[in-house]
């Protein structure tokens, strides 16, 4: 059969990068794949089982491949404001925000999380496959602008473990004296977790409650095992990138390289809420400042009506005419429908439009719907 199986590591021209938990995954029997040059677990017990475990109880993800960049110094905020779209000035100490780095032409360098550690210290979490590019982008902007601050490529200092699901709080709280319940969504605290120094952020990529725990790489295996033990009473399971993708897609959260890339700007991606034009100049602002109300295409959710799954890259037509493309598509295990996101001309980018997705040379009916596909009960 024509399965494109993951390329075996030994045939790669350059060795795959490994997280500090690589041996833990292999010992646990995870199926490993090459994910943007990283040897990562795509699944453990099975994608659907892991997906439902996160929705109903708690799952744990190794996301140590994600990158970290630290900006420190008297003008750290000025640099962060200059390279990101959201208003970092509005952050309080211990607060995080979703934001983006743009090129001067307005396309995405990356989507990122900005954490304010202190007045002169910001911690950025960026996508794994973009981290070198992001660092170069920010460092160049710092050099050009002459701000009084330093930019550090901090990825080697951190492993990151995500604990996600309705039992994530109960699981994580067993491992720290820091009160986690008062930490609101998109806030964080620094403290001790499983006996080691950690940053505990109430963030995630699953549309569930949960925490993303940053620890030193040397402590990662210890922390992972402690989380597995603490969550055992709730039925915790290790989860791979496969479930991470279906969970984020049900939440209609963007994935770089799919919904967003250098050819897409934030208004097209439905991310106007992370663009604060009024905050002052930032890289990309000039290119997009007049586009908020004049976009020609927009990211739109759809559900399959016919039999099939509209997958990434498939063509979308309306009344037989080419109209756009699917950015992500998959079964939605919780919503129990085949769902996806696609770019459509702005006049069709609204719920209730019949579209046709070309699946293996056949036009299969789908309909645009509001997003997100899944929203957790508060």
């Amino acid at each position: 059969m024509g399965v494109v199986f993951p390329t075996p590591a030994k045939s790669m021209s350059s060795p795959l990068l490994k997280t500090p938990l690589n041996e833990v995954h292999r010992a646990a029997g995870a199926k490993m794949v090459d994910f943007g040059g990283w040897d990562m677990p795509v699944q453990y017990s099975g994608l659907l089982d892991e997906h439902h475990t996160v929705r109903n109880a708690v799952g744990v993800f190794d996301v140590s491949h994600m990158g970290e960049i630290e900006v420190r110094g008297p003008e750290a905020l000025k640099l962060v404001e200059y390279v990101t779209t959201n208003a970092a000035s509005r952050l309080a100490e211990g607060q995080a925000q979703y934001s983006a780095l743009l090129y001067s032409h307005g396309g995405f360098v990356d989507d990122i999380l900005v954490h304010k550690v202190a007045d002169e210290s910001y911690f950025l979490c960026v996508n794994a496959s973009n981290q070198d590019k992001d660092f170069a982008h920010i460092a160049a902007a710092n050099k050009d602008s002459g701000f009084d601050c330093e930019v550090e490529f901090a990825s080697p200092k951190y492993a990151q473990i995500a604990v996600q699901g309705p039992k994530a709080l109960a699981t994580a709280q067993k491992l720290t004296d820091s009160p986690l319940s008062p930490i609101r969504y998109y806030w964080f605290t620094d403290g001790t977790f499983a006996g080691v120094p950690a940053r505990m952020a109430r963030t995630g990529y699953t549309a569930e409650d949960g925490f993303e725990i940053y620890v030193a790489p040397g402590n990662a295996a210890h922390v992972w095992n402690a989380i597995m033990d603490a969550g055992a009473e709730f039925g915790i399971k290790p989860c791979g990138l496969g479930a991470r993708n279906t969970l984020r897609l049900e939440g209609a959260m963007a994935l770089y390289g799919h919904e967003i890339d250098a050819s897409i700007h934030p208004f097209e991606a439905g991310l106007a809420w992370i663009v604060k034009l009024e905050k002052g100049d930032f890289i990309g602002r000039d290119a997009i400042k007049d586009k908020r109300d004049s976009i020609t295409r927009r990211l739109t959710g759809f559900e399959m009506r016919g039999r099939g799954i509209g997958r990434d890259g498939y063509e979308v037509a309306i009344n037989g005419s080419p109209a756009g493309w699917v950015t992500s598509g998959s079964p939605g295990p919780t919503v129990n429908k085949n769902i996806g996101l696609c770019y459509l001309p702005i006049e069709h980018a609204k719920p209730g439009v019949q579209i046709e997705i070309t699946i293996r040379n056949q036009a299969v009916l789908a309909e645009t719907v509001p997003t997100p596909f899944y929203r957790r009960a508060k």
Binding site: M1, G2, V3, V4, F5, P8, V42, G46, L47
Partner: protein, 128 residues
């Protein structure tokens, strides 16, 4: 899961069981494990004629879709329509009730180039 000794296998991860002039074709346990949870199976209509290498259908999991190719030539005499309603059978019993199609062999000599169970197991070991 063991690979039946009386089956033949391909490097494209299919198995072929021959009984008289009819070959039953499926995907291997290794293939279903690589694909993960299977959600759709598309199979050809009975009567369709296949040449070696023709795509005769597809198997779709939560995360990927894969074409399935004919390892031998012949006409389709049966398709496992039970997979339409319960595609998960392919995960739970790939070498048995998860079979895909049966074809009437047009040239039994085509079987000669296929792998034995031992050779296939060695092949997938070496692949990993």
């Amino acid at each position: 899961m063991s690979y039946p000794e009386n089956y033949r296998y391909t490097k494209e991860h299919e198995w072929i069981a021959v009984e008289g002039a009819v070959a039953t074709i499926g995907i291997t346990d290794h293939a279903q494990a690589e694909l993960g949870d299977i959600v759709y199976v598309d199979l050809p209509a009975v009567g369709k004629t296949l040449a070696v290498g023709d795509s005769f259908g597809s198997v779709e999991s939560v995360k990927a879709v894969s074409d399935v190719y004919a390892p031998v030539s012949g006409a389709v005499v049966d398709a496992n329509t039970a997979l339409n309603d319960e595609p998960g059978i392919l995960n739970s019993d790939p070498h048995g009730s998860g079979w895909l199609i049966k074809i009437s062999l047009s040239d039994a000599a085509e079987l000669d180039g296929l792998l034995s169970a031992t050779a296939y197991e060695e092949y997938i070991q070496a692949e990993h």
